[in-house]
């Protein structure tokens, strides 16, 4: 029984990495994840990753922000302490516009970004789960779960054929940090 936990195909070129994904997919080898130093365009479609739904979250937070500040301004300016300023109406909608606009933006930005951090498990101090330290530098990594995916040599060959500069058989899932 091999002790290998993860097989990493390390590429120095994103196009070769995409070829590596094709090779694995043709041979029905499931891919655990892909780690890259920059976003790779077109990879989501290839890997069958669904569109992000963060846009919906952003919209909802925007609506929330607009409602919250509109309610605050309405309560204070119209309901709780209406003032007679030259006989003009207290409920002067143009004055509501800048505040409503600013808080729509504020809530959209923070709501969406915090949702992104929560969904992706990003927060200050989180121990980075890094499989290869060069994945944030100059290596494009395809990670394959070794368990159940055998024989390992065939996977190695598929990755090598695509142009992997190195194929690692790691016994630990994450190389970073205790």
């Amino acid at each position: 029984m091999s002790k290998t936990k993860f097989i990493l195909g390390c590429f120095d070129d994103p196009d070769n990495m995409m070829q590596g994904i094709t090779n694995l997919q043709k041979n029905s080898v499931p891919i655990y994840d892909v780690y890259t130093p920059m976003p790779i365009h077109g990879i989501e479609a290839k890997m069958g990753v669904k569109d992000s739904r963060l846009g919906y979250a952003a919209f909802c937070f925007g609506c929330l922000g607009a409602t919250v500040i509109f309610s605050i301004v309405y309560y204070t300016l119209v309901h709780d302490w209406p003032q007679n300023i030259g006989g003009k109406p207290s409920f002067a909608i143009p004055d509501f516009v800048p505040f409503t606009f600013e808080w729509t933006i504020l809530f959209t930005a923070f709501g969406m970004t915090i949702t992104f951090f929560a969904a992706t498990h990003l927060f200050p101090g989180r121990a980075p789960r890094v499989m290869d330290l060069r994945a944030t530098d100059d290596r494009f990594i395809i990670a394959v779960d070794a368990k159940g995916n055998i024989p390992h040599d065939d996977i190695t060959n598929l990755l090598k054929e695509a142009g992997a500069v190195e194929v690692k058989h790691n016994e630990r899932k994450y190389v970073s940090y205790e």
Partner: protein, 490 residues
């Protein structure tokens, strides 16, 4: 997937031979991973002395009150609001580069957005300190928030443009900070994975555990695009609202409907000038010539020329409308600006902002680094005078001639202003030491598409129109980071 090859007639956004992903990381992280050089120390010490002056001047203002400034009963706003509007305006270029250019798919933003966004944040910090300082009693700054209180509750005045300003500036600062920091995460992870010991632990905390996995990048790009989409109207709203501070008043010279677009154009104008001031030096000192190329410098100069012209049209329109309105007070305010005791401020503004950017019609001047740098300083001086002219010359002669006055700054006024510049540069210099001044991940995207190297490969492969290749080669001659000898044989 094949990378989309960019048309050969487009100028490269990254130059240099034998560029690799590793080399990009190494070169950009050089100042972060090594001890600073002499130029940095000299700059830092000078800036820190300026920041010290700021601390002293602001402390005196807080301790003794606004009497430390040269304000009088007629001129109740002077260098404080001038400085505030100046700094907020400077901040606008960062958001413009990071958000507006992203929406329009202008990839040349990739190499300058990081430092421009940092500049935005530091400029807005300087602007916000003016707001707090000019309140006189900064410990009562919370009065601007709609908090329940024992006076009724007597709420804040939502009808006031100053209140709108509080919301606009605070939203702008926090959203810019969020946008900047989210964009930094992948690059902080790059530093983390190369560092050892304590450095690794610090950058590990700061990196939020970034791994660069597929789903992370996908969400990251969605977030960046939406943040850009909402920051674009935000940045326009901020200076629009800043202009409301004046435009919603009944003061001749301020009561002008043209102010919002005119202020926004002026903000972008001064902001790009400040980006130019900072980046032309940063580029040289940090050796970033391959990333911040002549194309970037020239593009920014074109924006300076365009927005400078818009500002010029606005100045002339103001004059025309004052005459056309037939309101004698309005007319006097403008005649007084140009020919009254502050004529020198008005004509400094006119020559720095309207005449000098027109020199950029010359491609030779647009591509000259010393000239661009000098002109960026001239523009920033001009934009400071613009705000001074709008504020002080409109106020100093009001409806009652017996109350007419001049404004004379005290040394504390000068100290707060010079000091805020020191503070700004101190923050910027610290930034380039601890965080990557160019967005590493975004620049890596250019390597296989828009780099000189990728285009050289295309030329060597053949299959291109010879006329287009010739056009491309000619466009390279303006770059100071391209060796034209390489193109003689191909």
């Amino acid at each position: 997937m094949a990378h989309h090859h960019e048309s050969i007639i487009r100028e490269p956004l990254m130059t240099g031979k034998d560029m690799t992903y590793a080399r990009i990381t190494n070169e950009i992280l050089l100042p972060v991973e090594n001890k600073p050089n002499k130029a940095w120390w000299i700059g830092f010490i000078v800036s820190a002395l300026g920041a010290m002056l700021w601390v002293v001047s602001i402390s005196l203002t807080f301790w003794y009150g606004l009497g430390e400034w040269g304000l009088n009963k007629t001129v109740g706003w002077a260098w404080d609001i001038t400085g505030f509007v100046w700094w907020v305006g400077i901040g606008h270029a960062g958001t413009l580069i990071s958000a507006v250019l992203l929406i329009f798919g202008q990839n040349w933003r990739n190499s300058i957005n990081r430092s421009a966004e940092a500049m935005t944040i530091f400029a807005v910090i300087c602007a916000a300190t003016y707001i707090v300082a000019h309140m006189g009693r900064p410990w009562l700054a919370y009065f601007t928030l709609p908090l329940p209180n024992q006076y009724g509750s007597l709420w804040v005045n939502w009808n006031s443009a100053l209140m709108m300003d509080v919301f606009a500036i605070s939203t702008y600062f926090s959203v810019s900070l969020l946008f900047w920091y989210t964009g930094l995460l992948p690059d902080i992870a790059s530093i983390r994975d190369r560092a050892k010991g304590l450095r690794r632990r610090i950058y590990s905390i700061l990196s939020f555990g970034w791994t660069g996995s597929l789903k992370t990048w996908q969400r990251f790009e969605t977030v960046s695009l939406i943040l850009a989409g909402i920051s674009t109207p935000l940045v326009l709203s901020v200076h629009t609202i800043v202009s409301f501070d004046f435009a919603t008043s009944l003061e001749p010279g301020w009561h002008t409907t043209i102010f919002p677009p005119y202020f926004v154009a002026g903000a972008i104008f001064s902001g790009f000038a400040m980006v130019q001031t900072l980046l032309l030096v940063t580029r040289k000192v940090l050796g970033l010539e391959n990333y911040i190329t002549m194309f970037h410098i020239e593009s920014m100069n074109k924006i300076i020329m365009l927005t400078g012209s818009i500002v010029g049209v606005a100045y002339i329109t103001e004059f025309f409308i004052a005459w056309y309105s037939q309101v004698e007070y309005e007319q006097y305010a403008f005649i007084n600006r140009a020919t009254g005791p502050y004529w020198w401020a008005y004509w400094s503004m006119m020559s720095c902002n309207v005449i000098s950017p027109q020199l950029f019609w010359s491609s030779k001047l647009r591509r000259s680094i010393p000239f661009s740098w000098a002109l960026s300083i001239v523009v920033n001086i001009g934009m400071w005078f613009e705000r001074f002219v709008i504020i002080v010359t409109s106020l100093h002669r009001d409806y009652i001639p017996s109350s007419w006055a001049m404004f004379y700054p005290t040394w504390v006024d000068v100290g707060v202003f010079i000091g805020s510049i020191g503070l700004f540069f101190t923050l910027f210099l610290l930034f380039i030491r601890v965080l990557p001044s160019v967005a590493i991940a975004e620049v890596k995207l250019l390597l296989k598409t828009a780099s000189e190297q990728a285009k050289m490969k295309l030329i060597k492969e053949g299959h291109l129109e010879p006329a287009e290749v010739q056009y491309y080669k000619e466009s390279l001659t303006k770059y100071d980071s391209v060796d034209m000898a390489d193109y003689e044989k191909v």
